[in-house]
């Protein structure tokens, strides 16, 4: 009797210790993420300049779908998402499965080199790519020397080429990052599976689709959700690589929201409404990806 009472209090004591351990982190997330989220929701139904806000109902939500710049930004985010994320993830998968091959040497060297871009800051690599693709930049010099161009092409001055530069930069910066996740995931797969598949006559491409992809599915899902989330929130690249230009042709949603909040005459209510669309898109896409991820079993 006495003994069980003591045990119960020990368990309670431990449970309390657990709550004490997790409370600071939970409080910070509540105050720094959830509370502002709710405040932003209220803001999104108000409009006005600076601090003079008045309730306007859903006006902001209607307005953003008639705002050509925001529609362009939305389109741009989706262009980056649809083109860049699949290319990057497939490339990362191929690199990871090559580096998982026991027959190859210098794997550490390759892995380090391919991961290195992740150590550069977003602003830095945006500036590097901006300089490389400038009219007098190295890419143009090489293209002229090779005879493809007679004068420097203004890559960042044309909408489509500017978008391609952003996509190339994103692939350069993030492929190694995703590759590390896949390499870690591959370590949990018994290498003997590959060897027995080989004995059964499977080609490397067959074992890639038949073994690697299905067994890595949870990791692929994780990276897909992370990249989707990241792409929908692109900011630094748009600000520092293309300045959103030429004339807002490459601007992203986060960049435009920043401009509406802090660069132009501030309209916090309208900015909050646009940011809720990002939240909505992130949530819907994450949900869809999880559904699709479940189905393929």
């Amino acid at each position: 009797m006495d003994n069980s009472k003591k045990k119960l209090s020990l368990g309670q004591k431990q449970s309390l210790a657990g709550w004490a351990f997790l409370t600071p982190a939970v409080l910070f997330i509540a105050v720094m993420s959830f509370l502002p989220m709710i405040q932003a929701l209220f803001l999104s139904f108000q409009s006005g300049k600076g601090a003079n806000l008045s309730w306007t109902g859903v006006t902001n939500y209607v307005r953003m779908f008639q705002d050509p710049v925001f529609m362009q930004a939305l389109k741009n985010n989706f262009i980056y998402l649809i083109i860049q994320v699949p290319i990057m993830l497939i490339l990362a998968l191929i690199l990871a499965s090559l580096l998982n091959n026991k027959d190859l040497r210098f794997k550490g060297l390759f892995r380090t080199a391919i991961f290195l871009p992740c150590a550069t800051s977003l602003v830095s690599y945006a500036v590097i790519f901006r300089s490389l693709f400038a009219v007098d930049g190295l890419i143009n010099i090489v293209l002229i020397k090779l005879g493809f161009l007679s004068t420097g092409y203004n890559f960042l001055g044309h909408p489509n080429s500017a978008r391609i530069v952003i996509i190339l930069a994103l692939i350069w910066r993030w492929t190694g990052y995703n590759m590390v996740f896949y390499l870690s995931g591959l370590q949990n797969i018994e290498y003997s599976i590959y060897e027995s598949a080989k004995i059964d006559g499977a080609s490397p491409i067959q074992s890639f689709w038949g073994i690697t992809v299905p067994l890595l599915k949870p990791t692929i899902l994780l990276t897909a959700i992370m990249s989707t989330n990241g792409t929908l929130q692109l900011f630094d690249e748009s600000v520092n690589l293309t300045y959103g230009g030429p004339s807002n042709a490459t601007i992203t949603m986060s960049h435009y929201i920043y401009n509406v909040s802090f660069k132009y005459v501030p309209n916090f209510g309208y900015a909050a409404a646009m940011s809720y669309l990002i939240l909505f898109l992130v949530a819907v896409l994450a949900f869809l990806q999880m559904k699709v991820g479940d189905k393929r079993d």
Partner: protein, 268 residues
């Protein structure tokens, strides 16, 4: 693998590796050359490093930006690692239904886009007089669901026997965490440290919002300010980019091995 296939694999890996390293190599080359030489397409290291350094330090408050970036990132990393690791430990070791439910709510915060909370946070911080301060820099991302989840995963492999033995020795729960868990989970801490330091050092949007004072700016902000001038001096610009990149590269190389191990633990 046949010889031909091996050759293909090596060629592919070599090309990708070169493409990955080249922009960084070019950055170093440009930092040691005159702007004119860079525009002419030089790929050789030059002798202008000292002059570029003089020009950069004369035109920008590099000391302040470097100092601030180090201060903000180190403070952020230390506090964040402690708060998130103890939370992850608490969620896993003492888990019950209520705590699991709290965890799943917390994970929702991962989906919150920063643009959405940026304005209320800005208003909150300007009222609390936290603009242009270290505290203002670190508070919004001091506790992240990603780190908590990472430590929660790694706490799963923390042996129960050690805890029981430590309790018999009279250690309380907090002491067990500090003296048993932290030393055992060194590789997870290294991975978390790399990620947190890099994120803090590289963050740009939030400091751009709250650091309006020239003495509070960070390295990425300084680089961004440099490039918005009318004439681009590639030499000094790339030197600034180089200075902004060196710290994170050093952290990455120092912790690379444990980083890979820590991620492996977290993905499992």
């Amino acid at each position: 693998m046949t010889k031909g296939k091996k050759f293909l694999a090596y060629s592919f890996l070599t090309v990708v590796s070169l493409l990955s390293v080249f922009p960084l190599y070019w950055m170093m080359v440009a930092a040691t050359n005159k702007s004119v030489a860079v525009s002419r397409g030089t790929l050789m290291f030059g002798t202008e490093l000292l002059n570029n350094t003089k020009k950069l330090f004369a035109s920008q408050n590099v000391y302040a930006a470097l100092g601030n970036s180090f201060k903000y990132s180190i403070v952020m990393t230390l506090i964040s690692l402690f708060i998130c690791s103890i939370a992850g430990y608490g969620f896993e070791i003492f888990h019950d239904k209520a705590k699991d439910r709290v965890m799943s709510i917390i994970l929702l915060a991962m989906m919150v886009p920063f643009a959405a909370i940026m304005i209320p946070l800005y208003q909150m911080f300007s009222k609390a007089n936290l603009l242009n301060s270290t505290l203002g820099f670190i508070l919004p991302s001091i506790s992240t669901p990603f780190l908590i989840m990472m430590f929660r995963q790694s706490a799963r492999s923390f042996p129960v026997d050690i805890m029981e033995a430590a309790r018999l020795d009279g250690l309380n729960e907090f002491q067990i965490f500090c003296r048993m868990f932290i030393p055992t989970m060194r590789s997870t801490y290294a991975a978390a440290m790399t990620i947190t330091f890099m994120n803090a050092w590289n963050s740009y949007l939030w400091p751009k919002v709250i650091m309006s004072d020239a003495n509070s700016i960070t390295m990425p902000m300084m680089v961004a300010n440099l490039k918005s001038g009318y004439v681009t001096d590639y030499g000094t610009l790339m030197l600034a980019v180089l200075l902004c990149t060196i710290p994170t590269v050093i952290v990455f190389f120092l912790l690379q091995k444990s980083f890979a191990e820590g991620i492996t633990g977290a993905v499992k």
